[in-house]
Structures are given as structure tokens and as C-alpha cells.
């Protein structure tokens, strides 16, 4: 751990917050900026977390790691790997100028999880505790170092996915997982309906699944566990074994061009795993055993929204294409009911009464005046 930068910039960050507050400025919390595309475009002065970095505490036997918000994910993963452990939620590391980037704070604030999510849990499931600064400039510590904790409201998990709109994360305590000793990826040639049927069926069985994706007429399945357990499951599933599978899953996780064309918008439908497949022409990637469906193509937002509604799911434009103009609204398109929207507005105020932290990224009516809402 000694080779990595280890800097506590708490005081500087708190001063910056105080100054901004005094001047009525609006702050946009920024880590590596690898997820700039995500959510509606923010507006305000950047508050940079990258200088606030380093692992504060890591105890492999406790499966717990606490690190400052600006700590690079790659560093955390490298340190964990030395102990045979990993980040179970597989946060994506999107590229900035060709390099995989992402900070722990950014990963938690965005709340995005990788291909393992249905079987292992999401980012928020792994968050145990946070130290944060709210819009009043108060430094707060919530949660703890253990998975079990029923003392006070669960603010740490609320922070996951809040996109920096409620406060600045200073450090995060997360649960980590052992790397399973064996992993095998299998591929089967199947039609869409056959694939969905298999995905549903296999998920009802106690198999050591850790990934299930259908695209290009191929169902790709990852198994993780003990060598014996994986071998037995491999026999049950059949198919062809995929070599260099780690790279395959990492590029899916990080949405590299081998999976998604950066020129086009990337849409996301979140739904029940068994929901019927879309009849919308275009490029579909059915991830998470059916529960996360990516789309690139010519369909309109209205058509996609219709489909999402029909299957009781939610739709978002995850990423705008590079050829699109930035003025296009990028939003969570699915309906947020009025009472839930009202809770969002009041909750934003409960953490940040004066709107010090820009709320544009999370365009729910009223949490930020400047946001465009397409509901």
C-alpha cells in the first residue's frame, strides 16, 4: 500500500465547501470525471475529490475496506487482489482518454454495478458506512464496519446512487469479497426466446452463477466457485468454453466499444428477469440474467418507454452518443410518482437546504430548478 498516494484533504475540502457556501456558489463533486456523461449535465464549480485519497483501513479477515473517496478503483482492486479479494459489485471503470478511471466515491455516488450484480448484490448492498459532508458543512459519519447495523436511518445506502446531490462523500467503508478460486465462462448458440427461457430456468436452480448475458444469438454464462463446484455446474450447462473470459466480462462491465458503439445513445431497461423480450429492432444486450437490458438503435424514446411500461420496468438513457449534441436531455425517463418526487425534493433539502451541491444530475422534478424533466 506504501506506493500509492495517501492524502487526507478533509480540511481543504471542508474549506472549499465553506467558501462556496459563503459566496452562494454551486458545487459539482467530481472524482476522475469518468462518468460525466451520466445523468443530466451538471452546472457549477467543480469540487475535486481526487486529492483526497488512500486506503484508511483494510482488514481481509473482516472483509472490510475503508478508503477515501478519491481513491482510484484500480488501486483498491490491486490491493484487494493481493489478499485474494475483490469488489463484489464490479463497479464499471469507464475510460477517460483511453485509460480506465473511476474513484471509490464516484462508484458509490453513481451506484452502478457490474455483471455479477444479480447474484452478489449491488453497490449499495456493499456500502457499510460513510463519512460525508452535507450542505450545511457538517461532517457526518453513518453506518459502520459491519453488515449488520440497525442504529439510525440507513444513510450510507441512501448515498449510493445519489449522484453527489446530497453531500460530499469523504470516505466509504465497503464490504469486500473473496475471489472465488475457480471461474469458467460458457457460451451457447441460442435464439432470444430460448435464451431467456434458459436464463430463467437456470436462475431457479442453485448453480454458482456470476454472469448471464445474451447478445448476438449467444448466451454467455459465468460460473464462480470452488473448482469442483464449477466443474459440476459446467457439466449441467454445457456449451463452449470461452478463453480470455476475464477480458470479455471486463469490457462488458466497462462498456468498451467491443460491446457498445460509443457513437450512439445507450439505453437501459431495468426489469424483472423473466419479463418478455422486446420486439424493437436494434442491438439488444440482455444482461443480469434478464434484469438489465441495453439497447442501441433507431427506436424512439417513446417506443422504448412503452416497452418499459409494458413490462413494469424503468427506462433511462444511460449514455448519449458521441455524435449527439449535448443539448439533448439525458434523463431517467421512467415515471417517478408525485409523492416519490416530493420526497426527493424534501430529502434534497434535508441534506442540502441551500442547494450548495448541484442537483442537476438527478433530474427529478424540483430537486434542482435548472434541470429539464422529461416525465
Amino acid at each position: 500500500m506504501a506506493d500509492y498516494p495517501n492524502q487526507d484533504a478533509t480540511n481543504t475540502l471542508i474549506e472549499q465547501i465553506a467558501t462556496a457556501s459563503g459566496q452562494g456558489e454551486r458545487l459539482v463533486i467530481t472524482g476522475h470525471g469518468s462518468k460525466q456523461f451520466y445523468g443530466q449535465a451538471p452546472a457549477g464549480t467543480p469540487l475535486e475529490t481526487a486529492g483526497h485519497c488512500g486506503i484508511i483501513d483494510y482488514e481481509p479477515g473482516d472483509l472490510v475496506l475503508r478508503a477515501r473517496a478519491g481513491t482510484p478503483l484500480t488501486q483498491i482492486e490491486a490491493v484487494l487482489a493481493e489478499q485474494g479479494q475483490c469488489l463484489g459489485f464490479e463497479p464499471p471503470r469507464f475510460a477517460v482518454q483511453g485509460a480506465a478511471r473511476g474513484t471509490l466515491g464516484g462508484a458509490v455516488a453513481a451506484g452502478l454495478s457490474g455483471p455479477r450484480r444479480p447474484w452478489v448484490g449491488s453497490t449499495r448492498d456493499f456500502v457499510l458506512g460513510v463519512t460525508m459532508v452535507n450542505g450545511l458543512g457538517h461532517s457526518l459519519y453513518f453506518g459502520g464496519q459491519l453488515i449488520k447495523n440497525v442504529a439510525g436511518f440507513d444513510v450510507p445506502r441512501l448515498m449510493a446512487g445519489s449522484l453527489g446531490t446530497l453531500g460530499l462523500l469523504l470516505d466509504v467503508t465497503i464490504r469486500v469479497l473473496p475471489i472465488r478460486p475457480a471461474e469458467v465462462t460458457l457460451q451457447l448458440q441460442l435464439s432470444g426466446s430460448e435464451a431467456l427461457q434458459r436464463m430463467v430456468e437456470w436462475q431457479r436452480r442453485p448453480l454458482p452463477l456470476s454472469g448471464m448475458v445474451y447478445r448476438d444469438d449467444r448466451l454467455t454464462i459465468r460460473l464462480s466457485g470452488t473448482p469442483e463446484g464449477v466443474a459440476a455446474a459446467q457439466e449441467a450447462i454445457g456449451g463452449e468454453r470461452l478463453e480470455s473470459a476475464d477480458e470479455w466480462w471486463a469490457s462488458l462491465r466497462d462498456q468498451r466499444p467491443s460491446f457498445f458503439n460509443p457513437e450512439n445513445s445507450l439505453w437501459r431497461v431495468s426489469c424483472a428477469a423473466a419479463a418478455v423480450l422486446p420486439e424493437i429492432a436494434g442491438d439488444w444486450t440482455i444482461d443480469w440474467g434478464g434484469a438489465q437490458r441495453w439497447y442501441q438503435g433507431d427506436a424512439t424514446a417513446a417506443e422504448l418507454l412503452d416497452y418499459a411500461k409494458k413490462i413494469n420496468g424503468s427506462l433511462s438513457r444511460f449514455r448519449p452518443g458521441t455524435t449527439q449534441t449535448s443539448s439533448e436531455p439525458i434523463v431517467f425517463l421512467s415515471e417517478i410518482s408525485d409523492p416519490v418526487a416530493a420526497i426527493h425534493q424534501r430529502l434534497k433539502k434535508a441534506f442540502d437546504p441551500d442547494g450548495l451541491f448541484d442537483g442537476s444530475r438527478l433530474p427529478v422534478a424540483g430537486i434542482d430548478q435548472t434541470s429539464t424533466v422529461l416525465v
Partner: protein, 498 residues
């Protein structure tokens, strides 16, 4: 916590009670509104029997519309409401108040829908935890969180307490196993959080709702995740000559990359009490016994079993016992599971505590407990969830002896202080409720409590949902600050906490 002894006095306003009962009988069938003392008495406490109060009124609605009518009525008439599930809570979360209506949800006990393909069940809040697993077992599925109270406790109560169980080392708590909640807000409006998928747009309000101890809304429907039943389960029991070795054993199993389905520990006092009760030939010289359950596919379980056995034997494990068949596992679990009745044989009363410490500090925390137990001259048995650092010290005392009662309170307080100082928290799974309200002042700073208070007001601006529970106001804690000086006397017991 203050242990109350003696009979509970009914201090409710009789005029108000009569008025409310008459009004509510317009909204619900007459038999669903209880207002006579002998009807109210059974509801005077939850499973934390040390704190009791006769409720103003008890209502037992039979469907969602009736629940809504009660919440709307309470809102219009500025009456406080306390939701109650099965009343098995151990922190006084559902303790009634003389100025509040107790809203019991146990009659809303239908499983509304089971979708085996998407592996979810939609249930009403009064459904018992175990009833879900029983209903879906035929489909090869189960609902993972399994509090020891699962035969009785309701899923609504589980959500409110974010309950866990023996198997949450591997499967997580309630919060990890639900995907949609419907609740009535303080005005009686129906709100839906979460959705059919694994995530929903916007803030993760499900996280806030789970574990909020009935302070943010009245939950009327829950969609829970179901998991495939494991193909194979084995239970391994191992004794350790020293607590430190057992603690190390726990760490090593985890560090070896194995996440057991359950990882439970009993200390020497517990072993002795249990052995005297059920005669399993437990090694009485052992300082600790570990119970390790492994599940998964046949092949997976066998290879993990080999690793675990090798790992713990390196740390002094002896008297290893392995149970494979369901019958044998039940037999082997019976030691751990009979701890409560066994204690009932050796003591008139025992106080069940709940706190957490990081696993690495378990042996140290247990040694401190032994020391404190000597200091306060009270026996303490420990039977707990070692896999997730969740301690349950059981303090043996005699409630008819005021001196012992006082010592029990002080001992419990000191044990919690030890846990907090080691980076633990005040509650792993039983919640704060009424019991640990004052102690929470030690865990949270004023600004943290203010943040909680603002969150509470987002959902319940008038503070009418389960008032005086779970989270103390900063003002309350400021008063408590002086309490330690005044030797345990709360200066303003009537002071509102919400």
C-alpha cells in the same frame, strides 16, 4: 434502558379513548377496535417486556383500505400512531404509548402473488417470515433472511427492523432481499418504492425505509426476493480450547475465501447451561463452540467442508461433529437453539442484548464481557452470530431484586460502551426502539442526530409515526449528557424525542 417492574398503570385519557373508539368503529368493523383495559393489556409491550405502557387504543384492521382509513383519521385528528407486527421486537419498537393508537397489522397476512420465474413474492406485512419460505418450498425456492423469531415475526416488522438471521453472513439482511415496498405515508397516501427490477430511478428510498422502525410510514405490501434452495447443506460443530483460537478460526475461514451460510458461536457459560439442559455431551472444557453451516451445490459444499476443516484444525479445533441429513442438522443445531429455554432453567430473568463488533475484535470483546460480568457479579452467556460480528450477550438476573436490576442496567450499558469503542454499533438486528434511545446519544454526534431529525421530517413532518422511538432528538441527548453525572436518572423522562 430502564427496566420497569410491577404492574402497568393505565394513564390514557378516558374521554379521548372513548371518542376515538367511537370514531374508529365508524371506519372499521367494531371487533377490530379494542378499548377495554383487559383487551389492551396484552398489547402493553413487545418482546422487550421490561418496558410497558397501556395503549390509548388498539386497532386491528383487516385489509389495506381499513389501514388507510385509520392513518387518514389519525392525520386529520392529530393522533399519534404506532405500527405493530407480531410484537416480537426486542428493543421496544412497538411499545405502545398512552397517547397513541397501536395499529396492529397482523391480520393483513396474505401472500398476494408468487412469481417463480422472476423469483419474487408479493406479501402483506402481517405474513410471518417463515410462511413465505413454506409457501415457496415446493417451487424449490426460499426467502433467505431468517431471524430466530421467524415462526412468529412478521415481514412488516422484519422490514422495519432490517432483520437478519443465522444465514445473513451469506445472504444478507432484509434490506438486501426486498425489491419493492408499498406504504401509507403520514397522511394516508399510498407510496410505492422500488420496482419489479433490481433497481429503480432516483434515490434509494427503500434503504431509508428498511430499518426505520415504523417511523417513516406504515408498510402494507412488500415484494421479497426468493432464492433457489441449496442442493446440499452440511453443519459442522467444532470446539476450541480458547476463545482467541475460535475467534481466529472465524477470521481464517473467511480469509480462506469461504462465506459460510451460517457461522455461530457459543461461549463457555452458554455451553455449560445448554449441556445441563439437553445433554448433548458438549465439551465443557471448551471456551467456545463454533457452528459452521455450508450450503451450495454438492460439489461446492464438499470442497468447502474440506477447506474449513483444515483451517480450523490448524487453530486447535477439536470434538468435530458433522451433520449432513436434515434430521442430523436439526439435532446438532438444537444446542444453539435451546439456549433460551436452557437459560430459563437457571435464572428467573435474562436480558437479551444486541450489539456488533468487527470480527477481529470478537475475542477481545468477549474477554471484556467476562471481566465486566465478574465485576458486576452477574452471569453473562454469549450465543451469537460470530460470522457477522453480532453479539448477543444474555445477562442472567433476578428482576425481583432491585439491586440486581440496577447492576444489570449498568453492566449492559458498559458492554455497549465496549462495543462502540471497538468500532461496533449499538444494534446489529434488534433495533434501537425505546430500549437504546438514550444510549444512541453515545453513538451519534449532535449534527448527525440533526440530520436524522431532518430525514424524519421529510416523511413525517408532524412526528406522529411511532413517536419517541429509534432516534433521539439532539435536545434529548443534550439533556442525557447530564445524566451520567446524575447517576442514571434521566432528567426529563417526559421530554419528547420526536
Amino acid at each position: 434502558m430502564t427496566i420497569v417492574t410491577g404492574a402497568t398503570v393505565d394513564v390514557a385519557d378516558p374521554v379521548l379513548r372513548r371518542q376515538l373508539a367511537a370514531d374508529l368503529r365508524q371506519l372499521l368493523p367494531a371487533h377490530c377496535v379494542l378499548d377495554r383495559l383487559e383487551q389492551l393489556k396484552p398489547f402493553e409491550c413487545d418482546a422487550l417486556t421490561a418496558i410497558r405502557e397501556i395503549p390509548l387504543l388498539v386497532v386491528l384492521p383487516e385489509n389495506r383500505q381499513q389501514v388507510q382509513a385509520v392513518v387518514q383519521y389519525a392525520h386529520k385528528n392529530a393522533v399519534a400512531l404506532i405500527a405493530r407486527g407480531a410484537g416480537t421486537g426486542l428493543s421496544g419498537g412497538a411499545t405502545p404509548r398512552a397517547d397513541a393508537v397501536l395499529l396492529v397489522l397482523s391480520k393483513l397476512n396474505s401472500i398476494l402473488e408468487i412469481d417463480a420465474d422472476s423469483r419474487v413474492a408479493v406479501v402483506e406485512p402481517g405474513v410471518r417470515n417463515l410462511a413465505i419460505s413454506e409457501a415457496v418450498a415446493g417451487l424449490g425456492l426460499f426467502y433467505a433472511p431468517d431471524p430466530s423469531s421467524q415462526v412468529a415475526s412478521s415481514i412488516g416488522g422484519n422490514v422495519a427492523e432490517n432483520s437478519g438471521g443465522v444465514h445473513c453472513v451469506k445472504y444478507g439482511l432484509t434490506t438486501h432481499n426486498i425489491r419493492q415496498i408499498r406504504y401509507f405515508d403520514h397522511t394516508g397516501g399510498l407510496v410505492t418504492l422500488g420496482g419489479a427490477g433490481l433497481d429503480a430511478p432516483g434515490y434509494d428510498l427503500m434503504a431509508l425505509m428498511t430499518g426505520s422502525e415504523g417511523m417513516l410510514g406504515v408498510v402494507v405490501e412488500i415484494t421479497v426476493n426468493l432464492l433457489p434452495l441449496p442442493e446440499s447443506i452440511v453443519l459442522l460443530q467444532a470446539a476450541f480450547p480458547a476463545m482467541d483460537q475460535a475467534g481466529l478460526g472465524v477470521m481464517k475461514i473467511i480469509a480462506a475465501g469461504i462465506i459460510p451460510a451460517g457461522l455461530e458461536m457459543m461461549d463457555q457459560t452458554a455451553i455449560e447451561v445448554v449441556e445441563n439442559y439437553i445433554h448433548m455431551d458438549l465439551p465443557l472444557d471448551a471456551e467456545a463452540i463454533l457452528l459452521i453451516e455450508l450450503d451450495g451445490t454438492e460439489a461446492e459444499v464438499e470442497s468447502q467442508l474440506a477447506s474449513v476443516t483444515a483451517e480450523i484444525e490448524k487453530h486447535g479445533a477439536y470434538d468435530l461433529r458433522l451433520a449432513r441429513s436434515e434430521q442430523d442438522r436439526i439435532k446438532l443445531w438444537s444446542g444453539r437453539k435451546s439456549a433460551f429455554p436452557a437459560l430459563g432453567q437457571v435464572t428467573t430473568d435474562f436480558y437479551i442484548m444486541d450489539a456488533t463488533v468487527p470480527r477481529r475484535h470478537l475475542p477481545y470483546a468477549l474477554r471484556q464481557i467476562v471481566e465486566l460480568s465478574g465485576q458486576y457479579r452477574l452471569r453473562v452467556a454469549n450465543v451469537f452470530h460470530a460470522g457477522d460480528g453480532n453479539l448477543h450477550p444474555l445477562v442472567l438476573y433476578d428482576a425481583s431484586d432491585p439491586d440486581q436490576v440496577a447492576r444489570t442496567e449498568q453492566l449492559a450499558d458498559e458492554i455497549l460502551t465496549v462495543c462502540l469503542s471497538l468500532g461496533g454499533t449499538l444494534s446489529g438486528e434488534h433495533g434501537i426502539g425505546r430500549e437504546k434511545l438514550d444510549k444512541s446519544c453515545d453513538q451519534f454526534s449532535t449534527v448527525e442526530l440533526e440530520q436524522f431529525e431532518r430525514i424524519k421530517r421529510v416523511f413525517d413532518p408532524e412526528g406522529r409515526l411511532n413517536p419517541g422511538k429509534a432516534i433521539p432528538t439532539p435536545q434529548r441527548c443534550a439533556e442525557i449528557g447530564g445524566m451520567h453525572v446524575h447517576q442514571g436518572k434521566v432528567p426529563f423522562p417526559e421530554l419528547e424525542r420526536f
